[in-house]
Amino acid sequence: MIELDVLLVLAYVLVFPGFIFLFGYSFFAEWFDRKMYAKMQNRVGPPLIQPFADFLKLLTKEDITPEKVEKVPYSLLPILAFAAIATAFVYIPVFVTTTPIGFQGDLLLVLYMLTLPTILLFLVGWYSRNIFATIGAYRAVSQLFVYEVPLFIVALGPALWAGSWSISDIVSFQQSHYCLFLIQPLGFIVAIMCLQAKLERIPFDIPEAETEIVGGPLVEYSGRKLAMFRISTDMLMVVGSALIVVLYLGGPSVGFSLESLHIVVQAIIGFLAFLVKTVFIIFLLSFIRAAFARLRIDQMTNFGWKWLASLAFIQIFIIIGLRVVMA
């Protein structure tokens, strides 16, 4: 672990690669996703500044709170969701293979932080006192029960293989040995599908099905609070794909060791590698979004338990078996 003093840690958490960088990168991620989605449909897509412009526009709109809702939870929940996701990102190494605040078990902390937004979405739908929001809320929770189990299991796989619960150790393992995606391809595929379900995008768009229940749980939100939720969704996409990149694709490491170069050059190369890998994952997510129709909640439950959970279990048993054989 690198010894830094408090000011540098604050800069790490708040500016780069913490809060401000995450903010900017999630705008870029949303733009990239929308542009690829449009290109696959033979259209033009928005210009680069579009997500930022949407965010600014929402900030200027009138913020209407319905009369009978409870004001404190209604206003507080968007901020909590935003905070949970932003906190999870600082534990993921972005330009070198370790983070200054990582510890044993921060993988579990990140996974729990990423579960929090969905529970908060359920509470949002519940507190909105609108029938469409209620339907969206219970659909969000039903979907949560289906994909959480496979997601946790395929996040467990790399930790088992690398022998540690710390994300930084997993990345260091991949730098010195090989990318874990080569050993656990099934885990990689299941992780991508579960991330798509966590982000609530087509084909798992069920809580916010526009043509069925208008806006889902967020139907009553407008103005600043809606802007907070939308940026939280984009940040969740960045954090989720960053998590898959560090667990399976090696994070900011490249195939060979860079000890011979200057520390700043190492950081730049690592950072560029991280960017390329996360952009690749976002491209895969856009591709899946363009290729399928939206499933129904009972079909999603069927699919989740039949394919996602069973493939995840098969993968973990293979990993355990190989570990036992090699020991």
Binding site: M40, Q41, N42, R43, I131, F132, T134, I135, I202, P203, D205, I206, A209, E210, T211, E212, I213, V214, A290, A291, F292, A293, R294, L295, R296, I297, D298, Q299
Partner: protein
């Protein structure tokens, strides 16, 4: 979980036009529903009664934007039958060509809308991109992309020359290739079949007893097609097949519409290659004799009925329209029993609803500035009472 009542419409992202549902659900299952279709009455039948035949053609064309040629052709052939005038053969062929091109464009539009309702926006973008090919052909033939204004009492207004015919044939080849891709996508893509298959069940007997028409009925195996049963224009000369499917659900209706696109492309190609020479208009008398005529047409959504009553003047005395969507609404109520909330948009979209093309009735009291509507039961009671008092027929209770 307890029961909730959800309003779908009159304003809803799933509906393109205003129609109101009040759906009682328990969890995700639908228990019962209530339908209200009386929004936006326009007064078209009254407007037609105040204009002469050639001017009212333009009002009738604008009853619906997607099946505008159907309404105009149906009206023209009704008036021609009343005046006992036959349009020349070349004009009939041109009317058939534009009618079948309109059917292609309407079914492509439906494929896109169905894709959007199930969340498959890619299909929506692709089909609407290829629909532009048909729109370009129609723009070259008639001068406009919708509301073609090709018809006149006694014939058509524009002719097709060699350049137009060769352009059309070239574009239809491309369109046939693209249609094969969409049929393959709709019948083999896993998620599309999961959303369309076994959804919105309408059995063969129910389809017949509720009076559904068009692809809604043909998707349940009912062999009803006005072009085959009662041929008009030159449909007895052009070779085609009536497409039916036995699935009795939304996937069946999709297969029927996709099959009809293929049939329409073949019919248009045959008609373009075998276009008879001759004039395109015949002079007609200015006044229509007294009499009543009922004119039937197979619009893209089903069987369209126009009733025209002439009284020896240059205006129609009474003009009534029974559109296919009005005949299909009861089947929506039947098909939604026991389905999930998630199926509501696609089951409603499966009949291809066009509220512009749904006959509505409203009561107006201009002294009191009041307007109201009747429910189905009130209308039925009134009808039974009127027939008992005025004609002596008793329809039972």
């Amino acid at each position: 979980m307890s029961e909730m009542t959800i309003p779908i419409g009159p304003q809803h992202p799933a509906l393109k036009e205003p129609v109101g549902f009040k759906i009682t659900v328990e969890g995700e299952r639908i228990k019962s529903l209530d339908l209200d279709i009386s929004y936006n009455h326009r007064g078209i039948e009254k407007a037609v009664e105040q204009r002469d035949f050639n001017q009212s053609m333009y009002v009738i064309e604008r009853i619906c934007g997607i099946c505008s040629h159907s309404h105009a052709t149906n009206f023209s052939k009704g008036i021609e039958e009343l005046m006992k005038v036959d349009a020349p053969r070349r004009a009939q062929y041109i009317r058939l060509i534009v009618g079948e091109l309109e059917r292609i464009h309407s079914h492509y539009l439906w494929l896109g809308v169905a894709g959007h309702e199930i969340g498959f926006d890619t299909l929506f973008m692709y089909t609407w991109r290829d629909r532009e090919l048909v729109q370009d052909i129609l723009e070259l033939i008639s001068g406009n992309r919708v509301n073609y204004a090709m018809n006149r009492i006694g014939g058509v207004r524009r002719d097709l020359d060699e350049k137009v015919i060769s352009y059309t044939l070239k574009k239809l080849e491309i369109l046939a290739e693209r249609t094969k891709f969409y049929i393959q996508l709709a019948t083999t893509e896993e998620t599309v079949i999961a959303r369309l298959g076994k959804v919105g069940r309408l059995t063969h007997e129910k389809a017949k007893s509720l009076g559904s028409v068009g692809p809604t009925a043909r998707g349940s195996g009912v062999n009803l097609d006005v072009r085959h049963d009662d041929p008009y224009l030159v449909y007895d000369e052009v070779p085609f097949k009536v497409v039916t499917a036995d699935n009795c659900d939304v996937l069946g209706r999709t297969i029927v519409r996709a099959g009809e696109i293929v049939q329409s492309i073949e019919m248009t190609k045959w008609a373009l290659e075998n276009l008879p020479p001759g004039e395109i208009r015949k002079a007609t008398p200015r006044l229509a004799p007294s009499g009543e005529v009922v004119s039937l047409y197979e619009a893209p959504r089903g069987e369209l009925i126009h009733y025209i009553k002439g009284n020896n003047s240059d205006k129609a005395d009474r003009f009534a329209v029974r559109t296919p969507t009005l005949a299909n609404w009861p089947s929506v109520v039947e098909a939604l029993q026991g389905q999930n909330i998630a199926d509501i948009p696609i089951v409603v979209a499966a009949i291809d609803p066009c509220m512009s093309c749904t006959s509505r009735m409203t009561f107006l009291d201009t002294d009191q500035m009041n307007s109201w509507v009747w429910t189905w039961n009130e209308l039925r009671e009134y009808g039974i009472k009127w027939y008992r008092e005025n004609k002596g027929i008793s329809w039972g209770d």
